[in-house]
């Protein structure tokens, strides 16, 4: 569904992504793990051209995505996005926020005058029902709680009838119970509708619980790719260089991604001697 080849993104002198290659299958639920500033957000934002790639190719559903006007409209219609800060419009009603997901595929002129096709309103209501917010349809969105706003964000993404949903730390501002609920809606979307979901997270537990496949990103490179049960301490050490341990090992850990091939085979990581918990504790002190 998504094929990324040699993707680079530079901001001035700073390189956020170094030649990233990634393939995601249809209906797959992929979680991207990585420290803040590792490049996970940039990776997602390049896919729907909210950030313009500096180099490389991105194919969505077999078609190369382009940054020109027509290309943007096409890719953004097929690819929906969910944000950490929900990014719903506070003064619009819940239903209208969900309807904005349909804006790319309805007659623009009618929408300017707040006239919407009945078919699109029906889709929006159905999506609200799926996130169990249908009783709130007519309320102003700023009266909702954070978790409810994120569910509106999910309904808006579903209303787009997308092939792909990109979720950029969707639960970073939510409590654990609400987080699970939100991630379950995403999982449902991938299972029932065959939507490909790429989700940035920074909670390893949720990655283990929800992901079919985990991608680890550090310093703009993919440093791990594998099943959630392959997320060992060594792998986490690779993904969070210097974060898991402090001290003498940190320098070596920081250098690791530089020498590693873009994607470290999971088997090789397993071969590394496992650190015991007491050892880790000693190294941390």
């Amino acid at each position: 569904m998504i094929e990324i080849r040699g993707l680079c993104k530079r901001y001035g002198d700073f390189t956020a992504l170094h030649r990233v290659d990634l393939t995601v299958a249809k209906g797959e639920f992929v979680v991207i793990l990585g420290a803040s500033g590792a490049g996970k957000s940039t990776l997602l934002r390049c896919i729907n051209h909210l950030a313009e790639p500096s180099e490389g190719e991105i194919h969505v559903d077999g078609e190369r995505s382009r940054g020109d006007r027509a290309g943007l409209r096409k890719v953004r219609r097929d690819v929906a996005m969910i944000f950490q800060h929900y990014n719903v419009v506070p003064r619009l009603s819940v239903l209208k926020n969900v309807l904005t997901g349909r804006l790319g595929s309805m007659p623009a002129l009618l929408s300017w005058f707040q006239v919407f096709p009945a078919k699109d309103i029906a889709i929006a209501r159905e999506c609200l029902r799926r996130v169990e917010l249908d009783p709130k349809a007519d309320l102003r969105t700023d009266t909702l709680s954070g978790g409810q706003k994120q569910r509106v964000g999910i309904a808006r993404a579903l209303a787009q009838k997308p092939k792909v949903i990109l979720a950029d730390e969707p639960v970073a501002s939510l409590d654990p119970k609400t987080s699970r609920k939100v991630l379950n809606y995403l999982k449902q979307a991938s299972r029932q509708d065959g939507i490909t979901v790429i989700c940035n997270l920074h909670q390893v537990d949720y990655a283990r619980e929800f992901a079919q496949r985990v991608i680890g990103v550090a310093a703009g490179r993919i440093v791990f790719e594998g099943r959630p049960d392959e997320l060992t301490d060594e792998v986490l050490h690779l993904i969070y260089p210097g974060g898991v341990e402090e001290g003498t090992d940190a320098a070596a850990a920081g250098a690791e991604p530089e020498t590693a091939t873009p994607s470290v085979p999971a088997a090789a990581l397993h071969a590394a001697p496992a650190r015991t918990a007491p050892q880790l504790a000693m190294e941390q002190s």
Partner: protein, 272 residues
Amino acid sequence: MIPLGRYNLLIARSAGNPGWWKYAVAVLAGIGVLWWAAIGSQVSFSELGKGMPWIADFLGRMLPPNWEFMGKLVKPAIETVQIALWGTLLAVILAVPLCFFAARNISPNVAVFHAMRQVLNITRGINEIILALIFVAAVGLGPFPGVLALALHGAGMLGKFFAESIEEIDQGPIEALRATGAGPIQTIIFGVIPQVVTAWIGVIVYRFETNLRQATVLGMVGAGGIGFELVGSMKLFQYQDTATCILVIVVMVMTADYLSTRLRGWIQQGAR
């Protein structure tokens, strides 16, 4: 820090000793500038003192105000409100399409942004009275040139305020709308307008109040409204009529001020 018994005087002092003569030069320069400005503007308190009896005489001629004249002021007063109303409406109609280009975060590119900011600065920079003089010459005496003057100046002011409120909005929803594949106008209608609408209404109400105040003096250059009567009565030395005009203007301005303050307060409360 200078100790004063149980208290300390804490004042910031520049590092090092700048020397007393630097202060002296600064004070002398300040006095010089004020002296120079006083000569230019012919500020003279002795002249003001000498003129006092004349001012008293003038005020004496104004009193008591001619209440009979009030009947003749009803129509010009209503006309003033009408000028302000259309001046405001046309200003809004002009400002709304321009303001998106003058907002840094929405404007299609930097050149358009700077060009539009300058257009707004120029229209805002020319005083209403001067604009009214130009429009009186162009379309003739009467209230309509007044409407045009208020519209043009008001468009500059409203456009600037509208653009600034757009720059203050939360960018998140805008980004989300772009990500859904919405076009630029759809993004403005569903992402920008809902976030700025209450701020805009507040500014429009304030602009209407300002326009009403301005409309009371536009008549002095022949652009209709109650100011026309004011100048006319003075030219005919009917100072008691002038006093009535001034009283009506004061009441109109105070009413507009009161209503606009109440209305804006109500809108801001409703926005929460």
